[in-house]
């Protein structure tokens, strides 16, 4: 069974982003970019399934600028087999991403697609669900455990009240939550091997997908800031302040 893992090049999770003063967006010049952390978890899960003999091939696909090649390459260094880059210069919304991924899925015929549950830049949390909808497949979102069986996959999901387990017919879409696994670091030999792995370049036009945005971003501003308050000396003082000054207890 083939597994398809979409990976996104996103701002590194340690970066404190700055909003441009003119309201035109977030300043990403010279900012460290990495693979979206949830996507790393998706790559790891696919590799574990391959190592346990459940999967035969792990294919990465990224939709983004030329530099997204680096993102794919880092996944190949973890152990994935090959990559596909769908090259676009402008930002692409989750709906268009899902349409492109559907086209890739129809061409590659994976039995499982594993994606991060959300990208830490736009925080949309949509692509996996949309992809499952467009393919007519079942979806196991926010996964903390994935067990592949014969013709189906059981996915344990992190939900508001606890955990829920669903069974999905294969092919299916799974989106990863934080506690599914801990992604491995790429070893030096694997980094060397990854340099020889193929990355196929495509464009949205190759798939006949319209990627024109549906949402128009009117402005982007920094959120209201909070000021640091007062450091207090004791628990007694804290209780007094919460009671008399803040009135919250």
């Amino acid at each position: 069974m083939k597994i398809l893992v979409p990976v996104k090049r996103a701002v590194d999770y340690n970066v404190k982003i700055r909003v441009k003063p003119d309201g035109s967006g977030v300043d990403l010049a010279n900012v460290k970019m990495s693979m979206n952390p949830f996507d790393e978890i998706a790559v790891e899960e696919a590799l574990c399934l391959k190592e346990s003999g459940k999967a035969t091939e792990v294919i990465l696909v990224s939709i983004g600028p030329a530099q997204a090649t680096e993102t794919i390459r880092s996944g190949l260094s973890m152990g994935a087999d090959r990559g596909i880059l769908i090259k676009v210069e402008q930002p692409v919304e989750p709906l268009a991403v899902a349409k492109l991924l559907k086209a890739v899925a129809l061409a590659e015929e994976p039995l499982l697609i594993i994606l991060g549950k959300q990208a830490i830049d736009d925080d949309c949390n949509q692509t996996g669900q949309m992809l499952a909808a467009l393919l007519g497949w079942g979806q196991g979102t926010f996964a903390s455990k994935v067990a592949v069986g014969e013709g189906h996959v059981e996915v344990t999901r992190e939900v508001d009240g606890g955990l829920q387990t669903v069974s999905l017919n294969l092919p299916a879409v799974v989106t990863t939550d934080l506690r599914l696994n801990e992604p491995r670091y790429a070893s030096l030999p694997n980094i060397m091997k990854a340099k020889k792995k193929t990355i196929l370049e495509k464009t949205p036009a190759d798939f006949g997908v319209d990627i024109a945005p549906r949402l128009k971003v009117l402005k982007t501003v920094a959120p209201p800031t909070r000021k640091a308050g007062t450091k207090l000396a004791s628990a007694a003082e804290l209780v007094a302040r919460l009671k008399d000054e803040a009135g919250v207890i």
């Binding site: 982003i17 909003v19 977030v26 989750p94 709906l95 549950k117 830490i120 736009d122 925080d123 949390n125 949509q126 692509t127 996996g128 669900q129 949309m130 909808a133 497949w137 079942g138 979806q139 196991g140 979102t141 059981e154 992190e158 939900v159 508001d160 009240g161 606890g162 955990l163 829920q164 387990t165 669903v166 069974s167 017919n169 939550d177 934080l178 506690r179 549906r214 949402l215 128009k216 971003v217 009117l218 402005k219 982007t220 501003v221 920094a222 959120p223 909070r226 640091a228 308050g229 007062t230 450091k231 004791s234 628990a235 007694a236 804290l238 302040r241 919460l242 803040a246 919250v248 207890i249």
Partner: protein, 314 residues
């Protein structure tokens, strides 16, 4: 046209997230219908009919919706979509799971986690863990929206509107429910509690949550939360996680205990009215946003805090 709000049902009851999302739905300036889907819904449907300012409640009571699986629920919403200019849901784990599926089936780009309705087609939403706020205008004829409930007050009750029963739609047979482990707690729900006390890595183990945080939570009627580090380490269950990808809360009082304040955690609580930080590291980023800070050993401070609250008769 009207707008449709998907109600959040948990354990057969209407979750308060519904009344909060309703406040956003009403801001679209059209009549609001509330869809309650699930199984054995009498209680939830009754509560929904009392929500102030809605036109009617649709009830889809069928085992196929019992566990709020995305596939049948999305199919039902798509079947109803023709009558509505917008479909909304609270950005709960159910809303987040179902609504993008609906959006894609309708060829609509969803607007996720809105925090403000600027106009019926224009919304504010946080990006980059809340470190930027984007104003977006949707060009889709139909709007599919999830609502960040922490950003909206709850609509009150007191109304009484009719119920319209609707038949279950065809459900795609691609998924089935296996089981669930839901935490049972007498405490207020994390997402809607007036007071939240969260512990971080500094708590050191699960027992310390019980012995140091729980008594204070009991006294304050607080919900208990945790940072990602504490959940990853197994000190607290996953549904306690507050942050960018966990729950987003905005209580009147948020007490962060042994939490350093990574941006991903701050994203989940920085809109709280009053923030208290208790941490031994005075350089911890949490102090930059806390109204009140106590620098010191939480193992000494928490028992002292418990005693002080006891003196108040709590």
């Amino acid at each position: 046209m009207a707008v449709l709000l998907l109600a959040e049902v948990s354990n057969g009851k209407l979750n308060e997230a519904t009344a909060k999302a309703l406040t956003a739905a009403k801001a679209l300036d059209e009549p609001v219908h509330v869809l309650v889907a699930g199984e054995r819904l009498e209680a939830a449907a009754l509560t929904a009919t009392s929500l102030d300012g809605i036109e009617k409640v649709l009830v889809a009571d069928d085992p196929v919706y019992a566990h709020q699986l995305a596939e049948p629920l999305a199919a039902l919403l798509v079947q109803l979509a023709g009558n509505y200019s917008a479909i909304l849901a609270a950005a709960t784990s159910t809303g987040k799971n179902v609504m993008p599926r609906v959006a894609a089936l309708l060829d609509v780009m969803q607007i996720s986690e809105i925090i403000k309705v600027v106009a019926p087609d224009t919304f504010e939403r946080p990006i980059y863990a809340g470190n930027a706020i984007e104003t977006v205008r949707s060009t889709d004829a139909k709007k599919i929206i999830t609502v960040r409930t922490a950003a909206f007050p709850a609509t009150g009750g007191g109304g009484s509107v009719p119920v319209e029963k609707i038949a279950a739609g065809a459900a795609p047979e691609v998924s089935s429910f296996k089981d669930e482990t839901l935490a049972k707690s007498e405490r207020p729900e994390l997402a809607s509690a007036r007071v939240v006390i969260s512990g971080g890595r500094g708590m050191q183990n699960a027992d310390n949550f019980k012995t140091l945080i729980e008594p204070i939570a009991d006294k304050l009627g607080a919900a208990m939360g945790a940072s990602r580090a504490a959940v990853d380490a197994g000190y607290a269950p996953n549904d306690w996680q507050v942050g960018q990808t966990g729950k987003v809360v905005a209580p009147d009082l948020y007490i962060a205990v042994g939490i350093s304040g990574a941006i991903q955690h701050l994203a989940g609580m920085k809109d709280s009215k009053v923030i208290v930080a208790i941490n031994k590291d005075e350089e911890a980023p949490i102090f930059q946003i806390a109204d009140y800070g106590l620098v010191g050993d939480l193992f000494a401070i928490m028992p002292a805090l418990n005693e002080e609250l006891a003196k108040l008769g709590r």
